[in-house]
């Protein structure tokens, strides 16, 4: 039985590096976390105001529901989810090739385009780190 992602030191270290990079690129970031597909938080930015474990479970459900909708209407696999609210955005992306999801919350001072761009960059970086770790 392999070590679950949320207890795997390599994945946790890669996750911390990825989240720190988003934080450096986007100062309006309020929360960011990597989570497993089944809703466990792998790592999150410290000092954030979100209850991480609950957010990880909710993000997992949202990811699965968006996958189910994309499957139902036959438009391929779901690439990302955007929740645009009055005071900010939540963006979620699957880490390519992994059973991990990146969830990030940005304040309303950010443009949606930049928030999405930074999130995609981080997701790609995490995939590359994971790939080099297993190479």
């Amino acid at each position: 039985m392999s070590t679950p992602a949320h207890k795997n030191p390599t994945i946790i270290a890669n996750g911390i590096a990825t989240l720190e990079e988003i934080n450096d690129l986007c100062r309006s970031l309020h929360y960011a976390a990597l989570l497993t597909d089944d809703g466990f938080e792998v790592v999150s930015l410290p000092g954030t105001r979100v209850q991480g474990s609950r957010m990880a479970s909710m993000a997992s459900s949202m990811q699965a529901l968006s996958d189910a909708v994309a499957r139902e209407v036959r438009i391929g696999s779901s690439e990302y989810i955007i929740i645009a609210a009055e005071k900010g955005y939540v963006i979620q992306l699957r880490i390519p090739g992994e059973t991990l999801v990146l969830s990030a919350m940005f304040g309303d001072s950010e443009t949606l385009g930049k928030a999405l761009s930074v999130s995609r960059l981080a997701s790609t970086k995490m995939a590359a780190l994971m790939s080099s770790a297993t190479a």
Binding site: P4, T36, G39, S57, M58, S60, S61, D67, E72, T99
Partner: protein, 188 residues
């Protein structure tokens, strides 16, 4: 056409997704994710949002079947899905650690569905573990909630006739209690 919304709840590995797949006339909407808790339930995937299926009973009764995730960390889905439901199929696997406690815990969480319609309990994997018995569950419920009248079955979630029996018992229970409430023989 009359419609009922029925929830399937219970701990991870009890057979909720399988039961809905067995009963549903449509392709079941699944939200499965890789299960990282193989020490809790040794199965490759687990439901993380909901399962959804449908079945038609008779000529004019549609039943919408929703499965909820078994893990407490998804209890926000329990609250969302409870809102429209009028009945509960509570499944528990008999070879899990302390399944009687699980039943009592889920009855507590979903107790409002008993008040709103009805509850039936299905004990799965009773062929793997002979105890606790149906009587053990009934005794524990009688002590904790003597006000509840809850049918208890041993089931195989893959068996269509067994699952139909469970569902029909629940629907009959709901409709009988609704009729009794309407006639003033049961307080609402």
């Amino acid at each position: 056409m009359a419609e009922h919304v029925i929830l399937f709840a219970g701990p991870m590995g009890a057979g909720k997704t399988t039961a809905i797949q067995t009963l549903s006339e449509i392709d079941v909407v699944l939200t499965e994710a890789e299960n990282t808790e193989r020490d809790v339930a040794d199965k490759p995937t687990t439901t993380v949002a909901l399962d959804y299926g449908e079945i038609t009973l008779g000529d004019d009764e549609k039943v919408r079947l929703y499965g909820v995730p078994g893990q407490r960390r998804f209890d926000f889905m329990w609250e969302i899905l409870k809102e429209r439901a009028i009945g509960l199929v509570l499944l528990v696997n008999n070879d899990a650690p302390d399944p009687v406690a699980s039943v009592l815990e889920f009855l507590e969480e979903f107790g409002e569905l008993y008040d709103r319609g009805g509850v039936v309990i299905g004990i799965s994997r009773a062929d793997v573990s002979a105890t606790p018995t149906v009587a053990d569950y009934a005794d524990a419920i009688a002590v904790r909630r003597p006000d509840l009248v809850v049918p208890i079955f041993t089931i195989d979630a893959r068996n269509a006739s067994q699952m139909h029996m469970v569902l029909m018992t629940l629907i009959l229970n709901i409709e009988t209690r609704a009729a009794m409430k309407a006639s003033g023989h049961l307080s609402s």
